[in-house]
């Protein structure tokens, strides 16, 4: 049967549900980037001197490097002097949730984030970051009993200096790449998480990021350290108001897993994607990397990327400890004029290291979706294995899917597998569903969810449901 796309037309976006703006008094730094901006941020955060020095080193390095151009995304030049690098709700020290501006809490309520501790049943500890500051962290005391530290990055920089100093930049050095370097200079907040030896974190840890203020960038930094034998599952979610101008988001995430430790990091990224003509939306340039430092350590990245005008991220694993395992499960959806260039890097250093990559790209409308993957087997990585599966699904005939897998093997005992497929939702499939009473939109959802199920399986239960819903909203109106 032919799978023509006559009946499947370009996508029409539905209203972005999270596009509201919170009316709240904000403390916003004037736009522009120079050493004074960085000093301002650092002093607002009450940071130790060494951290300011580190930021300044990053900034001076940043001045010497150029924005990369190797990616398959296209956008007008970003004016780094036109961005405000600090925005915070006006209110100083927050001791408990009661002190948080009720307007802000209502915002998080609208986003469906249970900030109040009464909602214990959800079993999720949340750190919420609003523009440049962390607003509240729930379940802190309960976690502290187990020796787990889960707090905002700003707090960690003051209260847990030794840990932050030891690990900050140890996975993503400040010289790493243009956007990571910028982040190192101006990062404002984020989450810090430390799981002591042998502790299994009893709940999901979660951070919600929200960009609210206009003309600001969001630059958060997350650092997770899992001591030997510990386990943690961490989830982040992101939304932003609808604005006509593009906003920059450049985050850095660093994970460190010691012997036998296990970190599961899940992302549901739903930044404002821009309107159906490609106006507005978040530029999402993110560096995420995990270091499997110890033997038998395990880092697993799962991401569902439905938002942002541009997504540029490659959550990666450095498999240093023998027998360590790295995983990457990804669903990236581009609709309307969204562009995504995403994938992973797996660097096999230790013996018998294993990695799995499952990437599902969905392109609809005029969306362009690129998978970029790098698998490197270094000389001493005897017995390393990699399995890569890379599937693309096209909806309509104006979108694109691109795949750039790089494989570099320096040890002859390596075993590599690579599978790739491209498919299209065909008119005949839609008609078959229609004839059974299923509407076009439900048919597309059914097919897309079927396509993504290997990835959704990796998400924590309640978020898998959220991801499915998000996908269906993002695709709403995708068929004519």
């Amino acid at each position: 049967m032919s799978t023509s796309t006559n009946a499947i037309e370009a996508l029409v976006n539905r209203e972005y549900k999270w596009g509201f703006v919170t009316e709240i008094e904000q403390d916003v730094a004037p736009p522009g980037l120079n050493e004074d901006t960085i000093r301002l941020i650092s002093s607002k955060k009450n940071e130790p001197e060494w951290l300011l020095e580190w930021r300044l080193k990053a900034y001076r390095h940043w001045l010497t490097i150029k924005e990369p151009t190797w990616h398959n995304v296209h956008y007008p030049p970003i004016d780094y002097q036109g961005i405000s690098y600090y925005a915070a709700p006006k209110k100083k020290e927050l001791q408990s949730l009661d002190e948080v501006d009720p307007e802000l809490l209502r915002t998080y309520e609208k986003l469906g984030i249970p900030l109040e501790e009464q909602k214990m049943l959800t079993g999720v500890a949340v750190d919420a970051v609003f523009d440049s500051v962390s607003v509240a962290t729930t379940f802190k005391e309960k976690l502290a009993e187990l020796g787990i530290i889960f707090c905002s990055f700003s707090e960690a920089a003051q209260e847990h200096q030794e840990l932050v100093r030891k690990y900050l930049g140890s996975v993503v050095p400040y010289t790493d790449n243009f956007f990571a370097t910028l982040n190192s200079a101006v990062f404002t907040d984020g989450s810090f998480c430390y799981i002591p030896k042998g502790v299994r974190c009893p709940m999901e840890l979660s951070t919600y990021f929200r960009i609210n203020a206009a003309s600001t960038g969001q630059f958060e930094r997350t650092l997770i350290v899992a001591e030997p034998g510990s386990h943690v599952s961490y989830l982040e979610g992101c939304t932003a108001p609808m604005r006509d101008e593009n906003q920059l988001h450049a985050a850095v995430v660093e994970l460190i897993a010691h012997d036998d430790a296990r970190i599961k990091y899940s992302t549901i990224q739903n930044w404002y994607p821009g309107d159906k003509d490609g106006k507005g939306g978040i530029y999402n340039f993110v560096t995420k990397r995990g270091k499997c430092l110890g033997r038998n350590s395990h880092i697993s990245w799962t991401q569902v990327e439905t938002g942002s005008a541009i997504t540029w991220k490659y959550p990666s694993c450095m498999l240093i400890g023998d027998n360590s395992v790295g995983e990457f499960y990804s669903v990236a959806l581009t609709n309307n004029y969204q562009q995504a260039d995403t994938g992973t890097k797996m660097i096999h250093v230790g013996k018998n290291t294993r990695s799995t990559i499952v990437s599902k790209g969905i392109s609809a409308g005029h969306g362009q979706n690129t998978y970029r993957g790098g698998v490197k087997i270094l000389k001493n990585a005897t017995g390393a294995r990699n399995y890569t599966q890379c599937d693309s699904l096209l909806i309509g005939d104006k979108c694109g899917a691109h795949t750039f897998p790089y494989i570099e093997v320096k040890n002859s005992t390596a075993r590599m597998e690579h599978e790739a497929s491209t498919s299209k939702i065909g008119d005949d499939q839609i008609f078959y569903c229609n004839q059974r009473g299923i509407t076009k939109e439900d048919a597309v959802n059914l097919i897309v969810n079927g396509f993504c199920k290997e990835v959704f399986r990796e998400l924590p239960m309640e978020f898998a449901v959220e991801a499915q819903k998000l996908l269906s909203v993002s695709l709403e109106g995708s068929v004519g």
Partner: protein, 256 residues
């Protein structure tokens, strides 16, 4: 139940149906026979709502309503079911998900409560038993890797599950061996009821040995050239379409 009046249909620039008249009452089984390219499958697809065809003249009434104005999924919800000649594969979507989505869409349209997973499973298992379908089918992707016989049997199974009022079987017998044919036919016969009409579209008389029609119509070059009782099918088998009055069907260009 179904009334087709002077129906003209085009695909691209090619006129396929040229004035079809047909009336089907509830409880009746009609068979439409005809050579390749006569327009049988086109008629089935137009009734189901396939958009690649253009209706240029005529009308179709279903339960007194203008069928041609309804979207394909509305027709399905109103009780029109077509068993596909080539059932479509949907990789990654399990039959269970697909059937549940279909059943609940139709139940919603009929003002019935949607079934939850447990109720759905119970219903499906009961229908499976009747039709002798393997339960493993539920976990397989829709039609993916099914044999020809399995696909056709799956169509009839869906028909039994969704309980349509008007069933259209588009060359359900094609590609079936005699055992599979018997199974499919007994499935269809089990669905015969006073409130339901069945339209059997076929090239061969063979299927009609097992699904005995009340009426047989012969479609040649886009027109129904003869109608009669079940004995007409036997006559066709004996003489061939070429001998039917007005029929130059054997020379018509091959179409599915």
């Amino acid at each position: 139940m179904l009334e087709i009046k002077n129906l003209y249909v085009k695909a691209g620039n090619h006129e396929i149906l040229k004035g079809v008249h047909l009336k089907v009452n509830a409880g009746e089984v009609h068979s439409i026979m005809g050579p390749n390219g006569s327009g049988k499958s086109t008629l089935a697809q137009v009734l189901a709502g396939r958009e690649t065809y253009e209706v240029t003249r005529g009308e179709v009434l279903y339960e007194g309503k203008n069928l041609l104005e309804m979207a394909p999924e509305e027709r399905a919800c109103e009780g029109v079911f077509m068993a596909f000649q080539y059932p479509v594969e949907i990789p990654g979507v399990s039959s269970a998900q697909f059937l549940k989505a279909a059943l609940n869409a139709i139940r919603r349209a009929r003002g019935l409560e949607e079934l939850d997973a447990m109720e759905f499973l119970a219903l499906v298992k009961q229908k499976f038993k009747v039709l002798g379908v393997d339960e493993k089918l539920l976990h397989r992707s829709v039609n993916e890797g099914f044999s020809g016989g399995e696909k056709k049997r799956n169509e009839i199974f869906q028909m039994a599950l969704l309980e349509p009022r008007l069933c259209i079987l588009d060359e359900t017998d094609s590609g079936l061996d005699i055992d599979a044919l018997k199974i499919v036919a007994s499935g269809v016969n089990g669905l015969r009821s006073p409130g339901r009409a069945i339209l059997v579209i076929t090239h061969y008389q063979r299927l009609l040995n097992y699904i005995i029609p009340d009426y047989v119509h012969v479609l040649v070059e886009g027109r129904i050239v003869r109608s009669g009782g079940k004995e007409l099918a036997l006559e066709l088998e004996e003489k061939g379409y070429a001998l039917i009055e007005g029929g130059a069907g054997a020379a018509a260009p091959g179409r599915r």
